[in-house]
């Protein structure tokens, strides 16, 4: 089976989705971090080596999706390792002890598979390692992390980008890690990267455009958080014809939050942890409904949530 990489080869250290990372190659958009014991080691490997090392299996994939027009799948091997495929462009093998991620890019350019690695592969490794994830963008404001949970296409990224333009730090673009803990609930930042829809503003205002995809730009954000912070608010972003934009505090229960939990359905043993974790989040973190009509742009919604992020409304800040 897979063996741990030699530590001397893992010269670059980062953190993302609550995971300490040590990599043999540079990862774009991630801030350097101190080396940490127990880090997930990332190495480049030939495809043949990855295919040989995977313990294999004939079960259906535990997860499938179409990303960037490519079929993507995650397969569980007989010994508990996971093989993730990104079309014909790349394979990734996560070892059964969750200590080693072999990356086998097969095609150039590198941006598409790197984006898949720094998003889907890393949050998958985080989830498989026991960290709980929310389908949410998030920014770091004056008091802590404010998260915006919503389903795809609801405007989470555009709202976060607008708040970064107004002075917040990016905390997560699409997936927010909130590890289970006995102490206060803290968000752990994702990579300082965003997939910014081309319809909303100049991406260069946010940072460096690493690559351009069909409808969005992959941006390394200059103002990005790199350390865990207290989760101070969770906004459930909902679109409804003729509504708002408006925000109201909810008296939530766990069922309000669970629809935004990200996880693998085959891990049924995690259901208890997930219930306890999100019940605690619903009880301890202020939860708001952020209601907006379908056509409302990010600026109008950002005006509503500014008091949560900066402690003052746009008018008060201007004064």
């Amino acid at each position: 089976m897979t063996s741990a990489p030699h530590s001397a080869a893992l010269g670059s250290h980062y953190r993302a989705f609550g995971l300490p990372l040590s990599s043999s190659f540079e990862l774009p958009g991630l801030r350097p971090a101190p080396s940490a014991s127990g880090a997930l080691g990332l190495t480049l490997s030939p495809r043949t080596a990855v295919e040989r090392l995977w313990s294999g299996g004939d079960r259906d994939p535990v997860w499938t999706a179409a990303i960037d027009g490519r079929p993507c799948a995650t397969r569980l091997g007989r010994s508990g390792d996971y093989l993730m495929s990104y079309g014909d462009d790349a394979l990734f093998l996560l070892s059964s002890d969750r200590r080693h991620l072999r990356c086998a890019p097969l095609k150039r350019p590198s941006a598409p598979w790197q984006r898949f690695l720094l998003d889907t592969v890393l949050w998958s490794a985080s989830s498989l390692g026991g960290i709980e994830l929310l389908h949410a963008s998030a920014v770091l404001g004056d008091a802590g992390v404010v998260a915006f949970a919503g389903f795809s296409g609801g405007g989470k990224t555009s709202l976060a980008a607008e708040l970064v333009r107004r002075g917040a730090r990016l905390f997560a673009d699409d997936i927010l890690a909130v590890p289970p803990t006995r102490s206060e609930l803290r968000g752990h930042p994702g990579p300082g990267l965003m997939n910014v829809p081309r319809t909303h503003g100049d991406p260069a205002e946010l940072g460096t455009v690493l690559a351009r995809f069909d409808t969005e730009d992959w941006v390394s954000v200059e103002r990005a958080a790199s350390k865990p912070h207290l989760l101070v608010a969770l906004c459930l972003l909902r679109r409804r014809a003729g509504a708002g934009p408006a925000m109201r505090r909810l008296a939530p229960n766990v069922l309000d939050v669970l629809p935004f939990a990200v996880g693998f359905p085959h891990l049924r043993g995690r259901s208890r942890q997930r219930f306890v974790h999100y019940a605690r989040l619903a009880a301890e973190v202020p939860v708001y409904e952020l209601l907006a009509p379908f056509g409302a742009g990010p600026a109008a919604i950002a005006d509503i949530v500014e008091p949560l992020v900066f402690g003052a409304s746009p008018r008060e800040r201007a004064a």
């Binding site: 766990v254 259901s271 208890r272 219930f275 019940a279 009880a283």
Partner: protein
């Protein structure tokens, strides 16, 4: 003769949490969530803590200022309903 629940236990495959609006109960075996209103949620917790219908009824009669016999009847109804959903395990007392 109908069986009367005497002792009640929340099985290991059930997890629950009380919120101001309701108590949410998850059956991990079926994956189904159940909502209990404030009164039923309080009864559920009393059953968990005391383990018996009689002891829970004594506690709840004082809290709700309701005759104990009525509380016992309501608790037994709740026990049967929750047991049907796999949310409680009952030790029945068969009426002689």
């Amino acid at each position: 003769m109908p069986a009367e629940p005497r002792r009640a236990r929340i099985p290991d495959h059930v997890v629950h949490r009380a919120f101001p609006s309701e108590t949410v109960v998850l059956n991990l075996e079926t994956g189904k969530y159940h909502g209990l209103n404030a009164t039923a949620g309080r009864m559920f917790v009393a059953l968990e803590r005391s383990g018996s219908v009689d002891a829970a009824a004594t506690v709840l009669a004082g809290e709700f200022n309701v005759p104990r016999d009525q509380i016992v009847r309501d608790l037994r109804d709740l026990c049967r309903s929750l047991a049907d959903r796999g949310l409680l395990e009952l030790d029945d007392l068969r009426a002689a």
